[in-house]
């Protein structure tokens, strides 16, 4: 590849005339002289025209995949899409607002348990239960965020970790949450006569959720609030001086992140049909955080990439048996060492 492109300049797409045309309209999007393979690769997707084409292509791939692949692939991809939703949610807290959260699985758990208890034990309709579930998660966000947001980042990490564990232990100890066995027989939802039941049904539900999460993340990033998060993350005092309410801004990030987590949890519980405290452990929180940082904090495509890596990585290595997690861990370490800001880092900072 180095041979065909001796000079690392942006004008090198001679073999792709159509895309080249786009380039000439939007040369300002490119930074002068992309330096390495990664940057050139990413730069290729930064122009709006290509991005649109990429969106269409990815959506098309997502839609046809279940029809040309096995059920296993569908299940794993569903799992990856769930992580996309969760990671985009955590990205709002960690990537946008710069708050370290080691207990994100707590929100995931609150969403899952609220909806499961309401539908299974009180017979509430699934769709009617969702608003309650989201409110519970938002409330949890306020409870966790409220007293802790003044803490410095390392302490915030340990406090969120503590809350995460408290939520899990509580779920394990209470009668209504089914104790350690958790809840099973969570009824599958129906939508306008469509009984969402098979793994392909759930796959499409998660495609829709991931797309919505993607759009919402993008909108938030470009919004006034998104800029407020950026200022707070970079310089709290200056942000405050500019009239931004620091605590309220951070708290909003927490609450929105919590709602994303709850949405993931709600559909996770109906998909699996059973939930137990083990699904909401510290390791789960770490895995989500890992995906966010690995992909590139604050950078939406990076975060999505991270989500796919943490789900597909161990699965693709399944044939290595016991060694697969070791290989995965070593790869992870190498990625962090060579791409410390993540695989697809954000440029705005």
């Amino acid at each position: 590849m180095a041979k065909s492109e001796p000079k690392p300049t942006p004008v090198s797409h001679v073999d792709e005339p159509e895309l080249h045309k786009h380039d000439s309209h939007e040369t300002d999007v490119h930074e002068p002289g992309p330096r390495n393979l990664f940057q050139r690769l990413y730069a290729a997707f930064e122009s709006p025209g290509r991005r649109r084409a990429l969106h269409v292509a990815i959506l098309a791939i997502l839609i046809v995949t279940p029809w040309i692949s096995s059920q296993y692939t569908t299940v794993i991809l569903t799992n990856a899409l769930l992580y996309v939703v969760l990671c985009l949610g955590l990205n709002i807290v960690v990537g946008y607002a710069g708050l370290l959260d080691l207990g994100y699985a707590a929100f995931f758990a609150v969403g899952a348990y609220t909806v499961s208890i309401l539908t299974q034990q009180f017979g509430v309709n699934f769709w009617a239960a969702i608003p309650f579930s989201l409110m519970a998660a938002a409330l949890a966000g306020v409870i966790i965020g409220g007293p802790t947001l003044r803490l410095r980042s390392d302490y915030l990490a340990i406090v969120t970790l503590g809350f995460g564990e408290i939520v899990r232990f509580t779920a394990r100890n209470l009668e209504i949450t089914g104790g350690a066995s958790g809840l099973s027989h969570i009824p599958e939802p129906s939508l306008f006569g469509w009984h969402i039941d098979s793994s392909i049904d759930f796959y499409y539900v998660f495609v829709v959720l991931a797309v919505l999460a993607y759009i919402a993340s993008q909108r938030l990033f470009d919004s006034r609030l998104g800029r407020a998060w950026l200022y707070v993350r970079h310089d709290e005092d200056a942000a405050e001086a500019m009239g931004i309410n620091r605590v309220a801004t951070k708290l909003t990030a927490y609450v929105i992140g919590a709602i994303f987590g709850a949405i993931g949890g709600i559909f996770f519980s109906v998909n699996l049909g059973a939930i137990s405290p083990e699904s909401f452990s510290f390791q789960q929180s770490v895995l989500i955080l890992l995906a966010v940082v690995l992909g590139g904090m604050g950078k939406i495509p990076g975060v999505i990439l991270g989500a796919f890596i943490v789900v597909l990585g161990p699965e693709l290595l399944r044939d290595f048996g016991t060694l697969r997690l070791l290989i995965f861990a070593v790869l992870l370490l190498l990625i962090m060492l060579f791409r410390p800001s993540g695989i697809w880092p954000e440029k705005r900072s």
């Binding site: 980042s153 406090v159 992870l332």
Partner: protein, 304 residues
């Protein structure tokens, strides 16, 4: 048992547990002091230390047996080996990351933790390894209070290690350099202090202490496995924060407090032992919210 006897027994047991927490918490706090990193792999160094101690003991048991003498030698070997491992980890994984965003280095630490855990998993196949020793169950009773010789040796060893550390930090040149580095790295550089060397020494000592705790825990409780560092890592971290992270005395104090809290927490009336950890974490959160610097930490202004 009377209320008073039971109280004393909890106190003794809490001190034993607390010594382990304190030894592990020291590593967290020292590393945090010099490079402001929450070393998530620290609990796994404790685990590695337990396996190193086990390996060391099997090597030397033919000559010195598996009593306290053998365990001490094995412990020193483990401290040396894991201390070096800690330095290597710092060089390979953390040193190149010191300029990177704070979260990235934290994730690197998590990755190191995963590597150590899974390496041990691959080597042991996830099985528990019995750590066989000649230590009996002997002890003596003071009234209704039960004390085993093992407990006494264990607490004494932990105390000696901690006193040695305290002397090292307050009296030696390296110790003073360590404190200076934790206050202002750039200033130290300008004054000709070899900051890299100080960081290396810190990692060596911190990891060595974790290995000491690991070996002693393995010998005392009698079994080791690849995941044993996780829970204690979490709790020692909590202990370090309660004491005030960055403060060495704070880590010792935090460890003992946490040990006692857990010991007594099991006995709170009307609340079963299933709520013990909820209790521990609630205390942690309360401490942080109302006394964010921990008990002995200094307040500092932080910018991300």
């Amino acid at each position: 048992m009377t209320w008073y006897d039971s109280f004393l027994q909890q106190l003794v047991d809490g001190l034993v547990l607390g010594s382990f927490y304190a030894l592990v918490a020291l590593g967290y706090t020292m590393v945090f002091g010099v490079i402001k990193l929450l070393n998530f792999a620290h609990g796994d160094l404790y685990m590695t230390g337990a396996f190193a101690g086990f390996g060391g003991l099997s090597l030397i048991s033919g000559f010195v047996g598996t009593g306290w003498l053998g365990i001490f030698i094995a412990m020193l070997l483990a401290m040396l080996a894991v201390g070096c491992l800690g330095v290597v980890i710092e060089r390979v994984a953390y040193h190149p990351m010191l300029g990177a965003p704070r979260l990235s280095i934290l994730i690197t630490a998590l990755a190191v933790s995963l590597v150590l855990q899974n390496a041990a998993l691959a080597m042991t196949g996830g099985q528990y390894t019995a750590f066989r020793t000649d230590l009996g169950f002997d002890g003596f009773n003071l009234g209704n209070l039960y004390l085993s010789y093992n407990q006494i040796v264990l607490v004494a060893t932990a105390a000696i290690l901690m006193i040695a550390l305290e002397l090292f930090v307050s009296k030696t040149l390296y110790g003073r350099a360590m404190r200076a580095v934790s206050i202002d790295k750039d200033m130290c550089r300008m004054m000709g202090i070899n900051v890299s060397a100080v960081i290396a020494v810190t990692f060596f000592i911190g990891s060595g202490l974790a290995a000491a705790a690991g070996t002693m825990a393995g010998a005392y409780y009698g079994s080791i496995w690849y995941f044993m560092g996780f829970l204690i890592g979490l709790k020692a971290f909590t202990a370090a924060v309660i004491g005030g992270i960055g403060s060495i005395t704070g880590a010792m104090l935090g460890g003992l407090i946490l040990g006692l809290l857990e010991s007594f927490g099991t006995h709170i009336p009307f609340i079963g032992s299933e709520w013990k950890d909820v209790f521990t974490f609630s205390i942690l959160i309360l401490v942080l919210v109302f006394k964010p610097t921990g008990l002995l930490g200094k307040s500092e202004v932080e910018r991300m």
